[in-house]
Amino acid sequence: MSLGKDLVGLEPLSAEQIRLILDTAEPFKEVSERPIKKVPALRGKTIVNLFFEASTRTRISFEFAEKRLSADTVNVASAGSSVSKGETLVDTARNLEAMRIDMVVIRHGASGAAQFLGQRIRSNVINAGDGKHEHPTQGLLDMLTLRDRFKRIEGLKVAICGDILHSRVARSNIWGLLKLGAEVGVCGPASLLPRNVHELGVTVLPRIEDAIQWADALNVLRLQLERMQGGFLPSLREYNRVFGVTSDRLAKAPKDLLILHPGPMNRGVEIDSDVADGPHSVILPQVTNGVAIRMAVLYLLAGGSPDWAHQAGGAE
């Protein structure tokens, strides 16, 4: 079993392919715990990190994953590049291809940009977030974090809370979790829920209190501050009062809820600091898992065998 040429989203993947990535990530976790955090799995491979949108954590996470696999990497940000001179995505892609690269990691503001690129170049393409479509490695690292804590995904109830409408993280989590047999709830103001979202197979939870009663874990999305200008919400203050994940609200939960957040957080808006820093928060373990997931994806797309991942990862 392989992943195919590109990773553009979790929707096109099978449950087996998703499990393969999660399982392959396990031995790579250990690499990052060593004093010398490097294995030779991708030695000689050239990878371009093509970031058309600002990103700190995802870009650095990919870069660490690439370097720890010994790949040669180049970072291209849109500002100051040919993109800012009006070059089209297809021309950028062809020029990269002409330099005989092996893989492209792309973050882009337009939904479908990763697929577009993948259909036009022979190199492997990894989607690091395309518009409002998908952010597959984020979905995978969230699932790895859930699996670490619960030892399973199947049967878990995961509520994704916040701006579902504009969230690529939400879409990747929905597809991935549903494929592995979890129940998925979405919770947010109706103005931030996409049309027909229930037809994806998720439960719509109208109030944050409903989500807290229902779920085993909350994945709290970042509220983009520009949504106020878009007329989707009246104010951050009201959002926190009505939809904020606070310790008062969590105290009424029938059980301890695991708290995830893809970052960067707006403390005091979608999540209160005492929750984010509290005992049930796995926000930092998510970041740690992000590197392992990205190492697994890079390794598998480069043709690495899952059977050799332990050796590649150097685990005993």
Partner: protein, 430 residues
């Protein structure tokens, strides 16, 4: 100029304007229809076209095309558009005014008229702008536009946002007996939208345009038609709600007419899967229920005409991210084939009704020559092979552009010969 008469022998002659559907002959002379009936005498000097097994009908008329001249001659010109029209069976097309500069004055209208005359293919009737520069502020000079040859006014490509401007346009147009054609779209609901708002837009993460964006403006225009007594023509209808609103308006006897495009009676929003930019147009492809409502509207006459909204774009304009690709597809060379395949062979319409939707009704609504085979009328005729199977090959189009979602599609039926002013302007080889 003298020209040979044309004698079309033994075809199935369909003329919805007179309720004709019978085997017979048709004689054209001096640019006009001279006679029609069974067993006509053949003038010795006439060119004979054998039409046995084929349909002889008034030339098709498309009320809604974008020919891009002046301004974007790299993607289409009046001449190439008129040739593509002829190859699609159209003897006349109406060119929307969203050119660069905008067709909002008599000189601009006259330019299109003269380019069409030089091309000498399908007739091209300019549509003038409603507002200067299509800015939605100040009315264009309808009187001078009509004097120069405009057959209607429209700000197509953009909605008429101001209800006051739409009202005065409908009132003022009455003086000249022309319809006001409106692109119905509430700009605040449609802002930033790239496709229909529904399950597919949710999955693809694209901003959707709800059906309500169209229906709100359709409802407003109907109310204004009632207020003013003016003739509103509703462009490229795409939703079930619009069809219902128009049906009610017609029941009330209001002067409301409507058009729909082949892509809206053939495809749904699923066609945008994979971020296919050739399935991106405005209004967008909608849901199966909407497509069915458009089909039923065409059957019962709620939708009066089929138009193409022929919208050429350069291939690299469509070769980009879905959000950034322009709206629109070309349609002149596939419209008849899709109408025959989807509607006639699909069992929804009979052939005379398809001819009515593509010729007789468009002529009537915009008060154009043609749409009839009555003796003395314009010598505009199409000869259709209604059954021939063919495969859409965009590289074989006469249009300068190739942006169609129908490439590779198998269709049944197309135009073989198009005659304009008594002269053959297109004859399919082989």
């Amino acid at each position: 100029m003298t020209m040979r008469p044309i004698f079309i022998r033994g075809g199935r002659v369909i003329d919805p304007s007179r309720g004709t559907d019978a085997t017979g002959d048709l004689l054209l002379r001096n640019g006009k229809i001279e006679a029609q009936g069974p067993g006509l005498g053949r003038p010795d000097d006439a060119e004979i076209i054998e039409a046995a097994g084929r349909v002889v009908a008034p030339g098709l008329i498309d009320l809604h095309v974008h020919l891009r001249e002046p301004g974007q001659e790299d993607v289409e010109t009046v001449a190439t558009g008129a040739m593509a029209a002829a190859a699609g069976g159209f003897s006349a097309v109406c060119a929307m005014p969203n050119t660069d500069p905008v067709t909002d004055n008599q000189a601009a209208v006259g330019f299109i008229v003269s380019q069409a005359q030089r091309a000498g293919k399908a007739r091209v009737y300019p549509i003038g702008a409603i507002s200067l520069g299509q800015q939605g502020q100040q009315l264009a000079e309808f009187g001078e536009l009509v004097g120069a040859g405009a057959v209607a006014v429209s700000d197509d490509g953009k909605p008429v946002v101001s209800s006051h401007l739409m009202r005065t346009a409908l009132e003022y147009a009455r003086t000249f007996g022309i319809p006001v054609a409106d692109h119905c779209e509430d700009p605040t609901l449609a802002a930033g939208g790239a496709m229909h708002e529904g399950l597919v837009s949710t999955r693809l993460g694209l901003k959707g345009v709800p059906a309500a964006a169209e229906e709100i403006m359709v409802a407003r225009d109907i109310v204004l038609a009632e207020l003013t007594g003016g003739h509103v023509h509703l462009c490229h209808m795409s939703t079930r709600g619009s069809v219902e609103l128009i049906r009610r308006a017609k029941d009330k006897g209001l002067r409301v007419t409507a058009e729909a495009c082949p892509h809206h009676f053939t495809l749904t929003h699923e066609a945008a899967e994979g971020y296919n930019t050739n399935a991106k147009m405005n209004p967008p492809l909608r849901e199966p229920e909407d497509r069915e409502a458009i089909r039923q509207g065409l059957r019962d006459g709620t939708i009066d005409v089929i138009c193409t909204d022929h919208a050429p774009h350069h291939y690299d304009a469509k070769e980009r991210e879905f959000d950034d690709a322009p709206n629109g597809i070309i349609g002149l060379e596939t419209a008849l084939g899709l109408g025959l395949t989807e509607l006639v062979h699909g069992g929804l319409l009979d052939l005379p009704t398809l001819v009515a939707r593509m010729s007789t009704m468009p002529a009537k609504i915009f008060r154009l020559p043609g749409g009839t085979l009555a003796p003395g009328s314009a010598g505009d005729v199409v000869i259709i092979d209604p059954d021939v199977p063919w495969t859409v090959d965009p590289m074989a189009f006469y249009s300068k552009s190739r942006n169609t979602p129908f490439g590779g599609r198998h269709l049944r039926g197309r135009a073989d010969v198009t005659i304009v002013r008594g002269q053959v302007v297109f004859r399919r080889a082989g």
